[in-house]
């Protein structure tokens, strides 16, 4: 899968191995909080939350012997910007083949950004029943929340500039496992020599490498 037009890779956040390790750690955290996994379920937010939820379910089963049921949530019809966006998101449909009443539902998504997707997912989920508890697992938390939402399980937290894009590629959807941080091309070419990146980079993480291609 190629990157969106006008964006360049600034940093590789995860390769295949690191992604696998991260998911294994998240699965263990889930099991730690719900030791027998009885009454728990994973629900992935389409598109890439679904393969992530399926992988987490496999890892959870390996860790505690119980495979939680997995559902898929298409939040398109609950988006708060549906009448403002064009073109139309393609509808793939919600598929939750079990009752969520009285269960602990772990919502799974690839990137937590503004929180608006999670807001839509919560609204949709409660139309399907009354879970005992809803938790949130995300592979990458990139900040810039616009709603009071936080994740319970986080693969990797990082500080980003608002214009950046965190692109999660999964072999089920994109043919490879890789997570990259992209930046707008014009930030590099149009910005004068003296100008630095506009926002962000307040705190560095140990694993962060120097940006590529600059």
């Amino acid at each position: 899968m190629s990157h969106p037009a006008g964006y360049l890779v600034r940093q590789e956040l995860m390769d295949r191995e690191r992604l696998a390790r991260t998911l294994a750690r998240m699965a263990h955290e889930i099991v730690e909080r719900h030791p027998d996994m009885a009454g728990a379920a994973l629900v992935g937010v389409r598109t890439r939350g679904v393969p992530l939820a399926l992988r987490l379910a496999g890892l959870v089963k390996a860790a505690c012997g119980v495979a939680p049921p997995v559902g898929a949530l298409d939040i398109t019809l609950y988006r708060d910007d549906l009448t403002m966006i064009a073109p139309h998101p393609v509808m793939k449909g919600t598929d939750i083949g079990f009752s969520i009443d009285h269960r602990t539902v772990v919502l799974v998504d690839d990137v937590l950004f503004t929180g608006r997707t999670v807001r839509a997912a919560l609204d949709e989920l409660v139309d399907f029943g009354r879970p005992a508890r809803i938790e949130l697992a995300v592979l990458v938390d990139r900040g810039h929340r616009e709603l009071p939402i936080r994740a319970d399980y986080v693969g990797k937290s990082l500080t980003t500039s608002r214009d950046d894009v965190v692109q999660v590629m999964l072999r089920e959807e994109d043919g490879q496992d890789r997570v990259v941080l992209l930046e707008k091309e014009r930030a590099r070419s149009a910005a004068g020599k003296g100008r630095k990146k506009p926002v962000g980079r307040r705190r560095g993480t140990g694993s962060r490498k120097k940006g590529k291609g600059k």
Binding site: L77, R79, T83, P87, H88, V90, M91, D127
Partner: protein, 311 residues
């Protein structure tokens, strides 16, 4: 993401195969909403749709209303029998007055061909054609195609026989446009008195039902539209049934897994025998369910996104 560039749905003729595909794919994605415990999603909250029906309708109007409610649009339905149309108000005046109430969409059924196109020229609302005269009934053709695609997995290469009152049928016209666009082989069948002039340019016409049904993947029966007939188009219902009615024996000439479709309402014992209408190959009620999904898709595509492209 796919762009859907049309503001109105006036007919199938002007749609590209890709746009037909987009509508069908969207309907497939939306159908699942109808099976949910709470059959309502907030997608079109705050949008208003007027259903303006100048002709009787059960299925089409009910399914537009259900689709509007499921997507949380506000809707009002106006039937001419109880409206000021009875006092002589013109179509344009009615539409302009309704528009003054700021609807986002008008769904119109009218006995005159081109009435929706006329409204599209004069109104700012999105216009959806719910049947105009003997011209088009686009959502019916879309729901027929959705049913065929769902049961057969494809449209391309299917042999579809359309049998019955071709002359008065907007359903036939929309279906011929849609099916031929999508690569199906269509054959039309009717008595010579019920064949509209020039239709053979779109699809081959036969006057023998056995010939039309032979080897068909699907047979679409059309209603004899008595209310539109002023002269003697055929001697009697009994004779029509003998010569052109779909009986179990005739249906047996089609492929083993043939699908029997009818847009409704049916004249049992005239164009279709009850044993066929209620038989195992009939998908007539699937058509009705799919009708809601298709109308949801049309509402979603015409009202859901913004007309201006956003980066």
């Amino acid at each position: 993401m796919k762009a859907y560039p049309h503001r109105h749905l006036l007919g199938i003729e002007e749609l590209s195969p890709e746009h037909v595909q987009t509508i069908l794919d969207t309907a497939d994605g939306l159908r699942e909403v109808l099976d949910r415990p709470i059959k309502k999603v907030p997608a079109l909250r705050g949008k208003t749709v007027v259903n303006l029906f100048y002709e009787p309708s059960t299925r089409t109007r009910a399914s537009f209303e259900v689709a509007e409610k499921v997507l949380s649009a506000d809707s009002l339905s106006i039937t001419t029998a109880t409206s000021s149309v009875q006092k002589g108000e013109t179509l344009l005046d009615t539409a302009r007055n309704l528009e003054a109430m700021n609807p986002d969409m008008i769904v119109i059924r009218h006995s005159s061909s081109g009435a929706p196109h006329f409204l599209a020229r004069h109104c700012r609302s999105a216009i959806v054609n719910a049947g105009d005269g003997a011209h088009e009934h686009p959502t019916q053709a879309l729901l027929d195609a959705l049913t065929l695609r769902q049961k057969k997995g494809r449209l391309k290469g299917l042999r579809v026989a359309i049998v019955g009152d071709l002359l008065h049928s907007r359903v036939m016209r929309s279906n011929v446009w849609l099916l031929t666009k999508m690569g199906a082989d269509v054959v039309l069948c009717a008595p010579p008195t019920l064949v509209p002039p020039g239709i053979e340019a779109l699809a081959p016409v036969t006057h023998r039902i056995d010939e039309a049904v032979e080897g068909a993947d699907a047979v679409m029966m059309l209603r004899i539209q008595r209310e539109r007939m002023t002269g003697g188009f055929y001697p009697s219902d009994r004779e029509y049934h003998l010569r052109f009615g779909l009986t179990a024996a005739r249906a047996a000439r089609a492929k083993k897994d043939v699908l029997i479709l009818h847009p409704g309402p049916m004249n049992r014992g005239v164009e279709i025998a009850s044993e066929v209408a209620d038989g195992p190959y009939s998908v007539i009620l699937d058509q009705v369910t799919n009708g809601v999904a298709v109308r949801m898709a049309v509402l979603y595509l015409l009202l859901g996104g913004s007309a201006e492209a956003v980066a």
